[in-house]
């Protein structure tokens, strides 16, 4: 299997969990075990769009428990004798091998996955940023042997590029370090907010310079965030930025101070 495999380096591994929320796209060749008319194949494939129940295959890295996955789209591109080429957009955790097997069962003839290429993970697609391991070796050699950063900077992207599909909230400099210490996001710290946020939406907190500060779970909708002048807007889930990147502009609560004094 080939295709898009975003690799997060060092501190950027903290955003991997966010990438799992953003869906994937594959192109797949399915081997049918008996010839089937293209019309029947199309009809059956269409029934797999939307919510499907899927039990992970025998060789799987998760518990083999039936779970619901969403198939956003499933397009039959070409049929040649017993081979079917299709494109599928789906939620993370959908096993395409199992999807092929289940389509085969629904058809009655049986089928299995023959070839698979991932064409998208969240915002990462097959564009000019797509890199192979050879490019990476050359870029690293140019850096260590000639001190040239150019190629490495072309291949590696800031982790923030991986977060573009989550709703963004831009916060004040003065709110950054408190968030880095795990505080929740209070309304006065917010400068800009994107539309489409509802309670429980996972979002990213950004500085005005466009640096990711943390992943957070909204406790208010976009509309409420715009209206309110106090209260907690989002609960911090995963801090990305190291503490002390921005100055400490907050104080521990009085109760904590008293405890310390005792």
């Amino acid at each position: 299997m080939t295709g898009i495999l975003p690799v997060a380096l060092e501190e950027a591994t903290k955003i991997v969990q966010a990438l799992l929320l953003m869906g994937k796209e594959y192109i797949c060749i399915m081997q049918l075990h008996n010839p089937i008319s293209e019309n029947i194949l199309k009809d059956v494939i269409n029934e797999f769009i939307g919510e499907i129940y899927q039990r992970p295959p025998l060789r799987a890295s998760v518990k083999r428990q039936v779970r619901i996955r969403i198939i956003y789209y499933l397009n039959l591109l070409e049929v040649q004798s017993n081979l079917a080429l299709f494109q599928v957009g789906c939620q993370s955790g959908t096993y395409i091998r199992k999807l092929c097997y289940d389509i085969g069962e629904a058809l009655g003839c049986g089928a299995h996955m023959k070839e698979l290429r991932r064409t998208r993970v969240g915002p990462f697609i097959e564009d000019q940023t797509l890199t192979n391991l050879y490019d990476l070796v050359y870029a690293q050699a140019a850096f260590t042997e000639e001190g040239s950063e150019t190629k490495l900077r072309q291949i590696i992207q800031p982790m923030e590029n991986g977060l573009t599909l989550l709703p963004k909230v831009y916060i004040r400099d003065s709110a950054v370090d408190a968030i880095c210490h795990g505080a929740h996001l209070a309304i006065p710290g917010i400068l800009k907010v994107e539309t489409g946020i509802k309670p429980n939406t996972i979002l990213t907190l950004f500085t005005q310079k466009g640096e990711a500060v943390a992943l957070a779970k909204a406790t208010m909708s976009t509309e409420n965030i715009m209206k309110q002048d106090h209260g907690i807007a989002a609960k911090t889930l995963r801090v990305i930025m190291p503490i002390n990147t921005y100055p400490k502009m907050w104080r521990a609560s009085k109760t904590r101070l008293t405890k310390k004094q005792i």
Binding site: M1, T2, G3, I4, L5, P6, V7, A8, L9, E10, E11, A12, L19, L20, G23, K24, G50, R59, S61, I70, S92, G93, R97, M113, E115, R120, G122, P123, F124, T129, L130, T131, N132, L133, L136, F143, L152, I156, Q157, P158, M159, G162, L165, K168, D173, I190, L191, K192, V193, E194, T195, T207, K209, G210, E211, T222, I225, M226, T245, Y246
Partner: protein, 83 residues
């Protein structure tokens, strides 16, 4: 039907305005190379054969990293030649 994550359009609303202090933090594209790598992601085209975990291990070795991670295994097909 849930919307396709990469087709959702969002608008940025302004609640308050403030200048950011240039003395702290850094625009992601302008990070010094060490930090640029430390907070970096590679859009890698996984070759056929090795597992996703092996490929990540190679990236770590090529760049001399302590840590690297990927999002979601692209498993090897049964019968696929492995290196």
């Amino acid at each position: 039907m849930r919307p396709i994550p990469w087709e959702v359009k969002r608008e940025l609303l302004i609640k308050a305005e403030e200048e950011t202090n240039p003395d702290y933090g850094c625009i992601p594209d302008e990070r010094p190379i060490k930090d640029y790598i430390k907070y970096g992601v590679i859009n890698l085209d996984k070759p056929a054969g090795p597992s996703s975990h092996e490929v990540v291990a190679w990236v770590k070795r090529i760049l001399n990293l302590q840590r690297a991670g990927h999002s979601g295994t692209l498993e090897a097909v049964a019968g696929e030649t492995r290196l």
